[in-house]
Every structure is written in C-alpha cells, then in structure tokens.
Amino acid sequence: MAAVAAVAAGLALAACTTDETGTPNTDAANPFNQDVWSTGGPIDYSTFDMSGQEVIWADFGGSVHEDFKKAYLDDFEGLTKATVVDGSPFDYAQVKAQVESKNIQYDIITGAPTSIDQGCGTLYEEVPDSKFYWGGIDDKFKSSKCAVPHGTTALVLQYNTNKYKDNPPKSCADFFDLTKYPGTRGMWTSVLGYPLEIALLADGVAPADVYPIDYDRAFAKLDTIRDDLRLFPDLTRGQQGQANQEYDMIIQTSVRGYRGAKDNLPYAPVWNCSVGQVTSLGILKGTPRLDAALALVGYASSPDGQRKGATVRASSPVSKDTDLPDIDAQMKDYIGAFHEAEMPIPVVDAQWWSSNFDDAEQRFQQWQVG
C-alpha cells in the first residue's frame, strides 16, 4: 500500500510540473490506478480518478467529432472525471510540426493506421504493455506498437437504388461495367479510398493476391472508367454528392453510407465490393499528458468503447468477443461485422500500406491529373 501511495505521490508531482492549466493535481487519490494498470488484464477505467487531468483529443471534426464525443469522450469524462478537450480537426502535417517543435497541442489523433505506423517512435508514442491491455484487440487488426485499433470501417460500393432498381450491381466488376450499368461513378481522390484494391478485385484478381499491388494492372482498369469517374477531394464532399445524387455508384465509407441511409438517401451497400480498414488511435510523441492519453486510448478501444462506437458510429468492433446487442436492421446493413463473409478484403494489408503509402499516393495523384 505504501508503494502505491509513493507512486501516486510521484504521479501527482509529475502532474505539478507538467499540467499546463496551472492547477496542479493535488488530489491524494491515485489518478491512474497503477494496480489495475499493472495486472496485464482488462482495465476498469472507473477505478481512475482523473479530476483536474486534461487530455486533448483530435479527429477530423464536424459530425465525425460529434459521433466520437457520444461514443467515447462523454462516457470517459463521466467515468474518470477527466476533462477531454476537443482539438479537432487535426491534420498529419500539424502532428509533424508539433512533435518537431516540441509544442504538443493535441495528445491523441484518430485516423487510418498508415500514418501512425509510418511515424511510430518518431511522431507517435509506442503504447507500453504495462499501461495498455492489448488482449482486447484481435491480432489481425494490429499494425504497430503505436496504432491502437478502436473500430473498423470499410470502403463499400454503394449504388443509387432509384437508378438501378431491378438490376443492382453486385460486385466490383459491375462498378467498372459501363455497358451493363451506365452512369456516373464516384471515388475519393486519396489512395486510401482504396481505388487500387477495388480495381484489382474488379479485374478478377483473387483477394489473397491483391497485395503487393500491381500498379499497372490497377491503373489500366481505372482507365476504363476515367470519363465517367467523378473524384471527390474529401469524404464530406463525397457525402454531399450522394445527397445531391451526383453519383450513380460510389466507393464511400460504410460510416458515411449509414449516415446517408439515416437521412433516407436512396443508396444501398454492396459488401461483395468492399475493403475493410482499421480506425486507429495514435498518441503524439512527447506529450506531457502521456498517462492521461493512455487512459483515454485504452477506454476508447475497450469492449465498452468498441460497443458504443458501433451503436453510435456504425463502426465494427476490433475484437470478436465484443457483442453487439440492440443494433437495428438499417445499421446492420452498414456494419462490417455482419458482412464479413461477403467482404473480399476484411482488412487491408497494413504492412504493405505503411511501406508503400507515399509511393502509391503519388502514383494515384499522377494518374488523376494525367
């Protein structure tokens, strides 16, 4: 018990020197329950008393943030008495600038694991086993010691149900079949909209053989729909395009597809043409609020976080042990966990992506402007 008290005192001291708000945490209670942390098992965050502790969270902002707030942040604040400050929206250039200048303005970011994997150890903190329970996440979703998976989404072919009433597309090949399915096609300008995977699947490549990506074959396939392809610069713009019914078919995230469905937009998903991806959390290297950040990252990726994420955002859990009660049929349409058997690529090859992202992104951009 004395040891625990000493650790607590040490932590409180550390808080005194690092807390930027100028209100040192003098609470005698242990802000981070070391006993719970060190067991190596699932962590009960309700044993933490983080009053006076701040942690800054950043996502892409807007409705995305509203969802994360409802899914994790509000509950985390209620559970631990910590204060979560919204730093959204973030971008990866700011992460680099903040870490390089040692002026950390957000502690946690969430996005695709690629960038976090690439910057693991330099831009992002490695998550220590002593303060995080990795056992709650299935191995197939893990990509590096820095990227903590908290849900998966997918890029899914979605088609306008008014346009293709009785004869809906059923596969990636149909996305590229302009004779059988004339109409406009929507895709994201980023290579992380997985146009290369979709093109290869459409061209008959077996899902297991998609990686390493055959660029020539992928771009040759994309060339066949170039004239009917409308590329959108960000996912919000793609969603806006769905609202205007600009795209007869679109490769869009399942999460945004669900939002559209809630707004009664006439689109339906084709899980036979989908590419799953992990949504990860990363902690900025050198943050003075590391322990607080670890607690929030741990909570968001806990079974409770995964479950709430699914019910609020329509993301899919990253542990097969996470049960999903009370999910309505409309939401089930857009949650990958209910369609895993149909998905050609349930999760992208994170290793391939972290070593090839820069090259792939530049090649795709050149294809676009060419």
Binding site: R230, L231, P233, E361, Q366, V369, G370
Partner: protein, 286 residues
C-alpha cells in the same frame, strides 16, 4: 518635436516591417530552407527536390495548367468587370451603392461557404441546370469540369478586379471623351484612344490581383472540378499533409512563389510603362 522629423516618420514603418518579417519572411524562408535540406528517398541532397518537381510529368502539367487558368480567369474577370465598373461610374446615389454592395457583400462570406453554395446551385439536380433545361439548352454537366471551376473562381476573384477598376475609372476625366469627339473621333476611337489608356492603371492593378490570387486557388477547383482541373495548391497539400514530404512541398511552393513574383514584376514594369506614356501624353498636350 523630433518624432515628426524625417527619421521619425520612417520609424512608423517599423511595425509593418516587423510584421512582414515575422509572418512572411520567416515562413517563406523556412519553406525555402526545407526545399534544400529535407529530402525523402530517393532524393538525397542539393537541388533534388527541384529536380523531382520538374522530372514529374504531373507537376509540370499542373503548373502550366495553373498559369493558363490564372490567365483566362483574369481575362474573363476583366471582360465582365470592365463594363460593370464603367456602369458604376455612370450611376449615382443608391444605384451605385447597390452595385458596389453587390460586389463587396460576398467578400464578407467565407470562400468555403460560397463554394459549397455553388455546389448546390450547379449540381445535376440544382436550379441552374433546371433553368437551362427549361429554356431548351438541355441538362449540361456543370460540376466536375472547368465550367464549375471557372464560375467558382470568378465569383471569388471578381471583386478584386472590379474594385481597382472602379477606383481608376472614377478618376478618368470624362470631358476628355467629349473633347475627342469634338475633334472628330467616333465614339469607338474615343474609347480606345482616350478612355481605355487612361484606365490602364486600374486594369493592370485588377489583373495583377486576380492572376496572383488565381495561382493559389485550392478549395474551389477541388470541390467544383475534378482532378483534371487540379491546380498547384492541392498538389502541394498532398505533399505536405498526406505524404509529409515537406522538402517536395517546399520546392513546389517556392516555384509558385517565384512565378508570383514574376507576375508582380511584369505588373510593376507595365505600370512604369503606362506612367511614362501617361506623362508623355501630358507633355504632348502641352
């Protein structure tokens, strides 16, 4: 009172110089520095980032497109803006106020909001296509191509053309037109030989503002166009924000910066020429 002396007045410029040094020279300098010190493989040193820039066909395509778009947006703004500014000088009172407000009020709204407004207006099911359809012009695609981009860019650039033009045209002594006509010049000759040259400083100011502004467009072509309309700025953003290759981004930004300086230089030379011709004309008058 020494502070009213020549030196004292010069000291007044210090805050501005400090401002420019901190918020302009320093960032531009550090961008330049990164373009020659930060490399992503396979580039290793020296001017590799610039070599990469000019060896990548997409970069060169987009650079020339950026110049071309900046040129024709400027021309279109001038063709629309000149009659508008001229008409403003003819009006008085509330009509002039109305014309002026129509140009200025959009400036108070964020370009992002205005661009999203165009997204709704120009969409396939939007009102513009609806009107075109009703008057028998069919249902043309206005988004995802250069039509949408041109409309969106002109909307944002238009005030930058009209305001300097209006200021210049207001100063033109319209009695000179009557004098020209009394000396036998038909209206067209009077316009081209008297009015137009006298309005040249306004044209030049507007053209420089609009063309420089157009070089940096980012959101408008991205949202209203397609990658086939991509300009330099989005390409830089990819390097800086997605790939985190700040050396590449620095080199691209610096190339664009040099082009902007060149445009400003041409503007400055042009204005000197105009002023010289203007004073020559005055000498002839005497």
């Amino acid at each position: 009172m020494p502070w009213t002396g020549r030196l004292g007045w010069k000291l007044l410029v210090l805050p501005a110089v400090a401002w420019i040094a901190v918020f302009f020279l320093f960032p531009v300098g550090s961008i330049m520095l990164r373009s020659v010190t930060e490399f992503s493989p396979p580039e290793t040193g020296g001017l590799d980032n610039y070599r990469w820039f000019f060896d990548t066909p997409a970069n060169v395509t987009v650079l020339s497109r950026t110049l071309w778009v900046s040129g024709y947006v400027t021309l279109l703004c001038l063709l629309l803006g000149y009659p508008y500014a001229y008409f403003m000088t003819l009006t008085r009172g509330w009509v002039r106020l109305l014309l002026l407000s129509a140009v200025i009020i959009p400036l108070t709204t964020s370009p992002l909001v205005r661009t999203y407004a165009w997204l709704g207006l120009l969409s396939d099911n939007g009102p513009v296509v609806g009107v075109l359809d009703r008057i028998g012009l069919g249902r043309p695609e206005l988004l995802g191509n250069s039509v949408g981009v041109t409309v969106g860019m002109m909307h944002i650039a238009f005030p930058m053309m009209v305001l300097p033009l209006y200021a210049a045209l207001l100063r033109v002594d319209r009695r000179l037109l009557r004098a020209a006509e009394s000396l036998g010049a038909p209206p067209r000759t009077a316009f081209f030989r008297v009015y137009l040259p006298l309005s040249a400083p306004g044209i030049l100011a507007g053209a420089v503002l609009v063309s420089v502004l157009s070089l940096g467009f980012y959101l408008t072509p991205a949202l209203l166009g397609s990658p086939q309309q991509t300009l330099m700025a989005p390409l830089i953003v990819t390097q800086v924000r997605q790939v985190l290759a700040w050396g590449h981004g620095g080199a691209m930004a610096f190339v664009l910066f040099v082009l902007t300086l060149a445009l400003l230089g041409i503007g400055a030379l042009g204005s000197r020429g105009i002023l010289r011709r203007g004073s020559a004309a005055r000498v002839e008058d005497e």
